[in-house]
């Protein structure tokens, strides 16, 4: 739906986009790249370790790549997303490949900081583009989630289909007044799961005869989670928007008490309708009676005159 194509009786309440700092997880990846790249440049060119790092032309690259991948592994383990490691691995391999192809390996101390700045700036621009591709429209009838850089995505959620609202605000969000609201639908859209798995292996035996046993277990916890395109991600001002959504949901949900009231009102309407019908019938009867009385009176008068 376009913003200028509302439904019948639809009124747009708010059009929102995520806060510029709401994708800090992605931005911090770029930030680390830039800081570490510049730090490597300083270590190789200006610090007291420059002779040590300059003794072998591959040392700066190894230090740079080693820390980059180590941080990638740690970040991947914390966020349970291997994409961070893959991203850093890609940046590292692309950088090494470029240096090698251009024969700049011996000048890695100069190349690495500039390359890191270039990649980080590109990363920041990509994140900003991704952020700007989000659009959330809150109307009096539904919430529309739109987004996508190349593939256009859209989700429409009517308020009566929202069963639960999850809201969260991190420290950065508390400081800058933004937060995320996840409306969970009856179908479970907006729910994810955290899985933990543990496994162990036993390898016993001697020489060529060995036994291998594996045992393990898992646990799954349902948690509100959705892609940023399908939630109100990093919206500002958080409190106002959250209240607006909650009020909209409340106004569109009929509670059991209200439902009973509606039923009673409908019964009353039927009774009233019946009463109106009876009154109509009575009125018709009265009219008929009056007409017949008039007729009989006129007949009597005619007889008298005759």
């Amino acid at each position: 739906m376009d913003q200028n194509e509302p439904l019948q009786n639809e009124k747009i309440e708010r059009v929102l986009s995520p806060h510029p700092l709401s994708f800090m997880r992605l931005q911090s990846l770029c930030l680390f790249l830039i800081i570490w790249g510049v730090l490597v440049g300083w270590l190789v060119n200006f610090s007291e370790y420059k002779t040590l790092l300059g003794s072998m032309e591959w040392y700066p690259i190894l230090v740079w790549g080693g820390v980059l991948l180590l941080v990638g592994v740690i970040a991947s383990l914390i966020t349970i997303r291997w994409s961070v490691l893959i991203l850093y691995l890609g940046v590292f391999l692309a950088g090494v490949g470029f240096m090698w192809s251009q024969n700049w390996v011996k000048d890695s101390g100069i190349f690495i900081p500039f390359y890191s700045i270039f990649i980080s700036v590109a990363g920041f621009l990509l994140v900003e583009g991704y952020r700007r591709s989000h659009k959330y429209i809150i109307s009096n009838l539904r919430i529309i989630f739109k987004g996508g850089i190349f593939t256009k995505r859209e989700r429409t959620l009517r308020y009566d289909k929202i069963t639960d609202i999850d809201a969260k605000q991190g420290i950065l969000g508390q400081i800058f007044s933004f937060g995320t609201v996840i409306p969970i639908s009856a179908s479970g859209f907006g729910l994810g799961s955290d899985k933990t798995l543990a496994a162990g292996g036993v390898d016993v035996g001697i020489k060529n005869v060995r036994f291998l046993g594996l045992f393990g277990g898992g646990k799954e916890v349902q948690t509100p989670r959705a892609r940023s395109y399908y939630e109100l991600h990093g919206i500002y001002p958080y409190k106002e928007v959250k209240n607006l959504v909650e009020n909209m949901v409340q106004n569109n949900v009929i509670t059991p008490y209200q439902q009973k009231q509606v039923e009673l009102q409908e019964e009353q309407k039927e009774v009233q309708k019946e009463q109106v019908d009876i009154q109509k019938q009575m009125r018709d009867l009265l009219k008929k009676q009056m007409v017949s009385n008039d007729e009989s009176e006129s007949e009597d008068e005619n007889i008298k005159s005759v």
């Binding site: 510049v38 730090l39 300083w42 200006f46 420290i171 508390q174 400081i175 800058f176 007044s177």
Partner: protein, 339 residues
């Protein structure tokens, strides 16, 4: 000089305590002034004030948790946000344990952030941690104790300020230190600026809290003094300087806290002044800081002189201050009179 036994036994141990109290009080005054400045820029810089609140509350909560850990009460709940922090112990302990954990809560925020800074200063100026030796300067009386304490603080201050005035802004470690100094300087305070001014939370409020804490259990305070005296006598008998050393650490912490608060003051003042400037002109003072520094470092690279780092910093500060003055004169009504 004749030594009075009363002076040595009773008054001498109090000298360093008074010294620490004096510096702590100075720290309190700076905190109060910082809070006043922050409240002045609050309307336009709400996120900054929230951020400073968060740092203050974070340290206060950490101190409270530390108190429970020290008293072995355990921690069953720990949460911090920008308005308040909450720590719940596993076991509710009464008496001296409760008093100790509350002491951490009330006094910790004044010392813990600057203790973090002191640790980082050690890596830059390790040899500045100087404690006067009793063999060289016999300090047995109140005045000698005070002089010894002052000497320890003076030696440290000289090295610390020497380091501060020769900070190299091209060195990432020094940049990290400056950031930490500003970051912690914003949060060295136990109370915070609320969204609405419901209750006056100021220096008097903090002092009242501490006073109530002390007067609630005078026995524990007396015990604390007794322990200090015992420690002093042991140091005295063994001709050690541990007593002065211990209190000197608190003095150093206070000095660092005051410097950190001063730097934060300059930053807040800069923000306050630039608020009065037109939108794009307000960016100029911020950009002048790095630009002037880079420029002068390039000049000094080709025309080397002595004390390059100091003069580079001085140049940066002077040029930035001059830029601000010019902007304030020509872009605001501050220096203009009615004609």
């Amino acid at each position: 000089m004749e030594l009075s036994p009363v002076d040595i036994v009773i008054f001498a141990p109090l000298a360093v305590v008074f010294g620490v109290l004096l510096f702590w009080f100075l720290q309190l005054l700076f905190i109060e002034s910082q809070k006043y400045l922050l409240s002045k820029i609050r309307a336009k810089h709400e996120p900054l004030c929230r951020f400073t609140n968060f740092i203050g509350i974070l340290f206060q909560t950490i101190c409270h948790a530390l108190g429970y850990t020290v008293t072995r009460s355990g921690i069953s709940h720990f949460s911090v946000n920008i308005h308040y922090g909450h720590v719940k112990p596993k076991k509710e302990k009464r008496g001296i344990f409760e008093w100790i954990s509350n002491s951490f809560l009330f006094l910790g925020p004044f010392f813990i952030p600057s203790a973090v800074l002191l640790t980082s200063v050690y890596f830059f100026t390790g040899r500045s941690f100087f404690i006067p030796s009793p063999a060289a300067d016999a300090f047995y009386t109140f005045s000698e104790q005070f002089i010894a304490f002052g000497t320890a603080l003076h030696q440290f201050s000289v090295k610390f300020f020497n380091f501060l005035f020769t900070i190299d802004l091209f060195d990432p470690r020094h940049i990290g230190f400056i950031l930490l100094l500003v970051f912690l300087g914003m949060g060295i305070r136990p109370s915070y600026i609320g969204e609405e001014k419901k209750k006056k939370v100021d220096m008097i409020y903090d002092l009242k809290n501490i006073q109530a804490h002390i007067t609630s259990s005078p026995l524990y305070v007396a015990l604390l003094f007794l322990l200090a005296y015992i420690f002093y006598y042991i140091s005295l008998l063994l001709h050690g300087n541990w007593y002065v050393a211990l209190f000197s650490i608190f003095g150093w912490i206070s000095i660092i806290a005051i410097v950190s608060l001063l730097v934060a003051h300059f930053l807040i003042l800069l923000i306050k002044i630039t608020d009065t400037l037109p939108k794009w002109w307000a960016l100029l003072p911020y950009s002048m800081l790095p630009l002037s520094y880079i420029l002068i470092r390039i000049v000094f690279y080709f025309l080397p002189i002595e004390n390059i780092l100091f003069f580079s910093l001085l140049f940066m500060i002077c040029i930035s201050a001059l830029t601000i003055l010019i902007l304030v004169k020509y872009k605001t009504n501050t220096f203009k009179t009615k004609t």
